[in-house]
């Protein structure tokens, strides 16, 4: 489809995103595996854009992973969500902003359920009161954290120290964008751009100088599948889905993958490592993998943040080839050191996918 056609379709899926005063809730997976990304989001919002973002120490999981594994009933999930809404009300905020895409899906599903089945909402209200004495109100607006970065992509571009451009050739980087399924597949009208042409990450790439790769399996699931990864016996499902995507994107020689879902980020990173070690197959250039970055990390790099303070050394697929390609000035020797520069020892390096060692720099 031509670019003009896409723009026309996107115009049907524009989303109102609040300007300021966000109530921020963390993600089970992102805070565990990519905690630096959550801190980067807060730093960008508070220190670069001057926004008011409130985090309550009392908020908890939405139970989303448990709900989609069928160990948590729907009524329980609705009431836990209502509790998080109550915390927002008590703090004096109205714009709810989850870091997790599964959570974003949970919140959209529950708000939709309450609209179509008001009795479910009243039941939830009674459960919450009985269990905690709390009362809740629905948020005025619900936006995933990637929606917020999308909203301010041009402001970020104006303050950019680096662009998504190959510093040696001057060409735009070729970038795969991967959207978590629960961002738009269930409720396309609640997303930026809908499910077929979501613009939330593509818009960031455009604003920061890169080129979006349109490849056949662009909208295929990463393969998390909840129980399909969490149970070891089922993991063939999970890896097969990621492999299908890698095989499909390989011919386009992506410089990196950007995701908006913490789970997708983990699986697209880790399954490349497993495929390399088990099938001796790598999908990047020169024996490296394709780096898989969160949108917070990409925004942080563009703004000139230190990659190691953002936690990019926690990726299994090495990000250093990308940093070099972008011409980023970073301290390679600090990668595996502690906060005061202390030696921590090196991780074991994979056998079949290249990983930059200090002697390579």
């Amino acid at each position: 489809m031509k670019q003009e056609g896409k723009k026309h379709i996107w115009s049907n899926y524009q989303k109102e995103i609040a300007e300021d005063r966000y109530f921020y809730v963390r993600s089970c997976i992102r805070q565990t595996f990519f905690p630096g990304s959550e801190n980067t989001f807060l730093k960008i919002l508070r220190e670069v854009l001057g926004k008011d973002v409130h985090e309550s120490p009392n908020h908890t999981t939405c139970t989303g992973i448990g709900y989609h594994c069928e160990v948590v009933p729907f009524a329980t999930t609705q009431t836990v969500v209502a509790r998080n809404f109550a915390l927002m009300r008590d703090a004096g905020y109205q714009n709810y902003t989850p870091s997790c895409v599964t959570s974003f899906g949970i919140y959209t599903e529950i708000l939709d359920t309450w609209q179509h089945f008001p009795a479910e909402k009243e039941k939830t209200r009674a459960f919450l009161k009985q269990a905690t004495g709390r009362e809740f109100e629905e948020p005025n607006s619900l936006a995933h954290t990637s929606d917020i970065i999308y909203k301010f992509r041009n402001e970020i571009a104006q303050k950019a120290k680096y662009q998504l451009i190959n510093s040696e050739t001057g060409e735009p980087l070729k970038i795969v964008e991967h959207i978590g399924c629960h961002y738009a597949k269930m409720f396309p009208e609640k997303s930026v751009g809908g499910a077929e042409y979501p613009n939330v990450l593509a818009g960031m790439i455009d604003a920061w100088g890169g080129n979006v790769i349109d490849y056949p399996e662009r909208r295929h699931c990463c393969g998390f599948g909840f129980r399909q990864y969490l149970i070891q016996a089922n993991r063939g499902y999970s890896m097969s889905a990621s492999k299908k995507k890698f095989e499909s994107m390989e011919a386009y020689q992506p410089d990196f993958i950007i995701t908006n879902c913490p789970g997708c980020n983990y699986f697209l990173d880790r399954w490349q490592y497993v495929l390399a070690e088990t099938e001796q197959k790598t999908y990047g250039s020169n024996g490296y993998g394709i780096p898989v970055l969160t949108y917070e990390e990409v925004a942080g790099l563009v703004l000139g943040f230190d990659p190691w303070e953002m936690g990019m050394q926690m990726h299994q697929i090495d990000v250093e080839p990308l940093l070099k390609k972008m011409g980023i000035k970073y301290n390679a020797s600090e990668k595996f050191k502690g906060p005061q520069g202390q030696e921590l020892g090196l991780p074991e390096f994979p056998e079949h996918v290249k990983f930059t060692t200090q002697s390579d720099n």
């Binding site: 089970c28 805070q31 565990t32 595996f33 905690p35 985090e55 309550s56 120490p57 009392n58 999981t61 139970t63 992973i65 448990g66 069928e70 160990v71 948590v72 009933p73 729907f74 329980t76 009431t79 836990v80 509790r83 359920t113 179509h116 089945f117 479910e120 459960f127 919450l128 269990a131 905690t132 399924c181 597949k185 269930m186 499910a195 077929e196 909208r219 699931c221 998390f224 599948g225 909840f226 129980r227 399909q228 969490l230 149970i231 016996a233 089922n234 499902y237 097969s240 490592y273 190691w308 953002m310 936690g311 050394q313 926690m314 299994q316 202390q342 921590l344 020892g345 074991e348 994979p350």
Partner: protein, 230 residues
């Protein structure tokens, strides 16, 4: 079925098969979301009971790709959620290999929610159970204090921040919500039915917190390759 997800999940299926064409589960399992829609529409109790006792309903990954492309705005993924709910409530999940995995999921995810306030937590991701987390994760776990301090983590500390300590009061509120909404009943049902099945299978299930029991290991790792393919 009184589940609102069933009401939302199927209205007027035209049996076009688009959901099956796009389904990641259909690529690796003998699984067709279209067939699920067909079977529930028969309203034949024997057929539905067989479905609730089968591996079939546990093949779906709940990615909800089926919802996006359905011309009638149906969602076989939502029907699956309603069927799985019924399978647990009736205790039928222990009849299938994939259904029996509920015990492992309850202990890994369900118990983590009530203990840490989150479904997944830094210390609930041991490398031996998740080897694909890779040597980098082992390095992070071995050097947790230094690495997490460098990137502003707040592991088990008071206040806000990633992986912070969730206070006793907050965990009590969560538990109370699970009690009044039926979440604890689900946990109990999963444990009790699994005990019964483990005894039938003459396996030592271990006590409730023992995730290393033979039954747990079996359901966590065993995959009948011949049965679960396309």
């Amino acid at each position: 079925m009184s589940d609102v997800r069933y009401t939302e999940g199927i209205k007027s299926c035209i049996n076009c098969g688009t959901c099956t064409a796009i389904c990641p589960a259909a690529e690796v399992y003998k699984y067709e979301p279209r067939s699920i829609a067909n079977l529930v529409q028969t309203r034949d109790e024997t057929i539905i009971e067989d479905l609730l006792k089968s591996d079939t309903i546990w093949y779906c990954g709940e990615c909800m790709s089926c919802k996006t492309r359905c011309q009638r705005n149906n969602a076989p993924g939502l029907i699956i959620q309603a069927l799985r709910t019924l399978s647990i409530e009736k205790g039928y999940f222990i009849h299938s290999e994939k259904g029996r995995q509920q015990l492992a999921l309850k202990r890994m995810i369900g118990d983590s929610i009530l203990e840490t306030g989150y479904c997944v937590h830094f210390d609930n991701t041991p490398h031996d159970m998740f080897p694909e987390s890779g040597p980098i994760w082992q390095w992070v776990q071995n050097n947790r204090q230094s690495i997490l301090e460098k990137i502003g983590q707040n592991l088990y500390k008071n206040g806000d921040g990633p992986n912070r300590k969730i206070s006793k009061g907050n965990l009590e509120e969560l538990r109370k919500i699970f009690e009044v909404t039926g979440g604890i009943d689900w946990f109990k049902k999963i444990e009790e039915q699994s005990t019964k099945k483990a005894n039938d299978m003459v396996m030592n299930r271990g006590n409730q917190s023992d995730i290393d029991s033979q039954y747990f290991k079996d359901i966590y790792t065993h995959n009948d390759q011949e049965k679960h393919n396309r």
